[in-house]
């Protein structure tokens, strides 16, 4: 005859067994339920991707471009300093005021021919490129400010070698050459058509003025075209792999002199990556070539004042 405790243990065991049966039954049912036609089959077979793979999806994107209520102005200078020369002590071969509207994310590159005959603060009338050798980038900034009436926020200057290195850090840039450029002074040797330029070729393209009737004016325009080509290439690299920004930024830092801080250069680079290329235009101040004494110079047209006014108001100039 069973004792009471034996009976209790038996009942507990029975209950536990019932639970076990119930749990195992549930598991079996669940597994069976998941074995429908579109579901993986349990057992020895493995799961592999279906041939009908869903296409990769580009998710949401956001890049923290600079934002602000007023435009940002950066003076971009190319010094004709050769290796071993201080780039802020030689003359400026390339002078471009870049205005960026931080609300509309539009920008304008406004070129000043290096032979522009202008008033240099404290130095009288001279070619604008002399402002760099006279007083460094700060004086060139002052000179452009006095011409345009626009307060310039920052400057960035590079040299021949610097430009070559910057372009090389991007790989090659693509430029549509519109007329023959064969110039022994700059080393330019291009036939008309689309050209994929390395750093050396890009430098030659930016320096050549002998291939054109209005020399300095077309050269200034071409320098802007090169900047746009570099921007295009940079955007391509960035959107392919955003990490590419960092080595480019490092090369930039080591090849320029600037009043920009590293965080601001980083933010400007992100802004450049995000701007639509169709929202950036490249202009040269309206001007004519002429002589001042024995010097061949460029006279900026009075109509340029309308450009300055527009650029001061919006950061950009509508293309004409």
């Amino acid at each position: 005859m069973r004792t009471r405790s034996e009976a209790r243990v038996t009942r507990l065991a029975a209950l536990f067994l019932s639970f076990l049966v119930l749990a195992v039954g549930t598991l079996v049912l669940v597994r069976a339920g998941s074995g429908r036609a579109d579901s993986p089959t349990p057992g020895p077979s493995v799961l592999v991707p279906s041939p009908l793979t869903i296409e990769p999806v580009q998710g949401a994107t956001f890049v923290p471009a600079l934002e602000g209520k007023r435009p940002l102005y950066v003076l971009v200078l190319g010094s004709d300093a050769r290796p071993g020369q201080g780039m802020d002590k030689e003359r400026a071969d390339s002078i471009h005021l870049v205005g960026i509207n931080l609300t509309t994310h539009r920008a304008t590159i406004l070129g000043f021919p290096r032979d522009s005959w202008v008033q240099i603060p404290g130095h009288g009338m001279d070619k604008i490129n002399a402002s760099l050798s006279d007083g460094g980038p700060q004086l060139t900034v002052k000179t452009v400010e006095s011409i345009t009436g626009i307060h310039i926020d920052f400057y960035a200057i590079t040299s021949f070698v610097g430009l070559k290195n910057l372009i090389d850090s991007l790989g090659r840039v693509t430029v549509d050459v519109t007329q023959p450029m064969h110039d022994q002074y700059s080393g330019a040797n291009f036939n008309p058509g689309v050209q994929h330029m390395n750093g050396f070729q890009a430098l030659a393209y930016a320096r050549d003025r002998h291939s054109f009737l209005n020399g300095d004016l077309t050269r200034s325009k071409n320098q802007g075209i090169l900047m746009l080509a570099a921007l295009t290439r940079f955007q391509h690299l960035f959107w392919q792999d955003p990490v590419s920004l960092l080595p480019i930024l490092s090369t930039t830092w080591h090849n320029i002199g600037t009043s920009l801080s590293v965080p601001l250069i980083y933010r400007l680079a992100l802004t450049a990556a995000d701007v639509k290329l169709s929202n950036v235009n490249n202009l040269v101040v309206p001007a004519t070539t002429g002589m001042e004494g024995a010097q061949s110079v460029v006279f900026i047209s009075p109509s340029a004042k309308a450009f300055y006014a527009q650029m001061k108001r919006t950061g950009t100039i509508k293309s004409h």
Binding site: A23, P40, P44, V46, L47, V48, T53, I54, P64, P242
Partner: protein, 253 residues
């Protein structure tokens, strides 16, 4: 001494050392036994209810319908596997400790973010939990909130019943300024998970993404998300039995 004998009959032990007078003063054994008999069905019913409840919960969890439960089963927070860290220095030397600290902070931020975007059951059914957006800078936050599920499961939201991580990897590039301080970071992640849909399908989700991160008061937060790419494969049983060869990898190309 009738009552003690009846006790013995019922299989209970007697206490011979208890004086009869004391035993007499206690509640008669016969009536205790009767009450126990009356209680037993309730006890059994209680246990049965608990067991049935446990089985029901088990079934719900196993069938991937956790969301119907009135409580959320506790889960382990997700952590990215930290791969390599690459310093990009604007000066000759870079501070290793500072770069490692950035990587650790980035790992923490992105792990928490992915936990909310992919592993939180709310993200499967409706949208990522609101605290996901705490991992963004003030500038990026409104954009991230607007993107919502687009940051994570996207159009799969509402279809997922369970999701588990198969593998993850995080690499961090740190820009070190000329003052030797980290100025910016870019993280590259790969996150592979297996999801079961409500319709019973099994999906393999492969998310590759890159994030820009800024230092905000010592914590690195997401300031941008320029690149994300998600590949979703519907998994089907292999036509080749397991162990018959390793040719399956090529079949997915």
């Amino acid at each position: 001494m009738g009552p003690p004998e009846r006790v013995a009959e019922e299989g209970l032990t007697t206490r011979p050392d208890v004086p009869p007078a004391q035993a007499e003063s206690e509640i008669p054994i016969a009536s205790r036994t009767t009450r126990m008999r009356k209680r037993r069905p309730w006890w059994a019913v209680g246990v049965a209810v608990v067991l049935i409840g446990a089985v029901a919960v088990l079934a719900i969890v196993l069938t991937g319908h956790r969301q119907v439960l009135p409580f959320t089963p506790k889960r382990q927070p997700f952590t990215f596997t930290l791969g390599k860290t690459y310093p990009v220095s604007l000066r000759a030397k870079h501070p290793d400790a500072a770069v490692a600290a950035v990587a650790a902070s980035v790992q923490s931020t992105l792990s928490d973010m992915y936990d909310g975007l992919f592993l939180d059951p709310h993200a499967w059914s409706t949208a990522p939990p609101s605290d996901v957006y705490d991992h963004f800078t003030d500038t990026a936050k409104p954009h991230a909130e607007k993107a919502g599920a687009g940051l994570g499961l996207g159009t799969l939201t509402g279809t997922i019943s369970t999701l588990s991580v198969d593998s993850s990897n995080l690499t961090v590039h740190v820009l070190v300024g000329p003052n030797s301080k980290p100025a910016a970071a870019i993280a590259t992640v790969e996150f592979i998970a297996t999801a079961k849909t409500k319709s019973g399908s099994t999906l393999r989700i492969d998310r590759k993404a890159q994030y820009l991160l800024d230092d905000v008061g010592g914590t690195w937060l997401v300031s941008g998300y320029p690149w994300t790419r998600t590949t979703v494969d519907k998994m089907v049983p292999s036509p080749v039995p397991a162990g018959a060869g390793s040719g399956q990898t090529g079949s997915s190309s």
